[in-house]
Structure formats: C-alpha cells, structure tokens
C-alpha cells in the first residue's frame, strides 16, 4: 500500500481502521496503538506484519510482542501497562462497529472513496481504481 501511496503522492490519503477478527489480533492492535502513544505506531505496525509468523498463532501474543518492542525503541513496560489498561478497546470497538456499518466482513477491506476492494488484491486493482476515482473527482471539481 505504501508503494501505491508513493505513486499517487499528493492525491491520495490512506487511513487505517482496525478491524480485529480474533483475540490475538485484538492484542496486537492494542499493542500497536499503545506503541503509537510512544510515537512508534508505524514502526510497530510494520513490525507486526514483518514478524507475523512469530506471533500470530499464539493464543496470547502479549509477551512476544513486548519482546519485540525493544527492537524498535518502544518501552516494553509502558507498552504492557497500556495494553493491560484496556484503554484502546473502545477505539477498536468503535472502528469495528463503523466497519460493520459499511458492510465489512473480512480483512483487508479497502474503500477507495466509495469503491470497495475486498481482500489482498493485486496492486494493479488499487492503482486502476484510484485513477478512476481521481479522474472522477477532478471532473466534478471543474
């Protein structure tokens, strides 16, 4: 997605909405948001995907994610306290409800303006849809 963004620099904005599907992803998402409080959301976000096979099958990945935290400069103790507090749960629940209201049932689901793309489709599909939406938006702006 970052490649797609770079291609359309200035014309496209990407906004992330967590849509957790299980308890494991719930913990991971809370940890990412908590890392954000230390200014390290994007690093943690990338790390979760890069090391996905090392934590995603664990019933409770909390400990493993704390171990990873230090690798990217996140204070593990602060992270653990934040996750334990549960204060990110409300944001996650709100975003999930929002996603459901838009008919999201699986991940990833991406809306490019109001065009829906379900699943990890080829990059070309995203590029094509973005171009169509840009053309439409520019026509409407005239």
């Amino acid at each position: 997605m970052e490649r797609v963004l770079a291609r359309f620099e200035g014309d496209v904005q990407l906004v992330l909405y967590p849509f957790t599907l299980n308890a494991t992803s719930e913990v991971a998402t809370q940890a990412a948001l908590c890392a954000g409080e230390q200014g390290k959301f994007w690093e943690f976000h990338r790390m979760l995907y890069a090391r996905q096979e090392q934590w995603r099958r664990l019933p409770n990945p909390r400990q493993r994610l704390q171990e990873f935290a230090g690798d990217i400069g996140v204070d593990a103790v602060t992270l653990a306290g934040c996750v334990k507090s549960g204060r990110m749960e409300k944001l996650i629940d709100t975003d999930k409800a929002y996603g459901r209201s838009l008919g999201v049932r699986s991940t990833p689901t991406t809306f490019i303006n109001d065009k829906r793309i379900v699943g990890a489709q080829p990059e070309g599909d995203f590029v094509r849809t973005i171009r169509q939406e840009l053309d439409r938006a520019r026509r409407e702006a005239r």
Partner: protein, 82 residues
C-alpha cells in the same frame, strides 16, 4: 345485607384500568406522534449518510493515516494483523 365497603384505592384502580375514551385517544395520538418522530429521525439520518461521499463519513481524526490530508481520494483500510 350490608354492602361490603370497597377496598381503598379500588375506585382509582378501576378508573385507571378503564381510561375514558378521550384519555385513550390522547395516549394513542401521543404514541403515534412519538413513533413518527422516531421514524423521521432515522430516515433523515440514513438519507444524510447516503448522500455523503464515503470519504467524509466516519471520523478521520484519531486514526493513523499517511499521504495528503484532504486528498481527492481517501483509502480507508480495514485490517487486522493476523
């Protein structure tokens, strides 16, 4: 035979159990008005949401984003990490 005195409150209970036609009319009218207001509220909200471009719906605040704020195209990605 002397009549049994009516239990206390029986008179008021009886009048509440059988509201006068006028009172019944008012209750029904009130209920209908309330229902109409609720239905109208739901309908207006749905209409507003249907006419808003998707990119303007929902909160963009408090969400991590990349790229140009206020861009012509907004990609909303719903994902989990597993």
């Amino acid at each position: 035979m002397a009549r049994k005195p009516m239990p206390r409150g029986a008179k008021s209970r009886r009048s509440n159990a059988n509201p006068s036609p006028k009172r019944r009319q008012k209750l029904v009218l009130g209920g209908v008005i309330l229902l109409l207001v609720l239905v109208a509220g739901v309908a207006i909200r749905s209409w507003q949401q249907r006419n808003l471009p998707l990119r303007l719906q929902g909160a963009l605040d408090n969400h991590y984003s990349k790229g140009a704020p206020g861009a012509l195209v907004v990609m909303k990605e719903f994902s989990d990490y597993t």
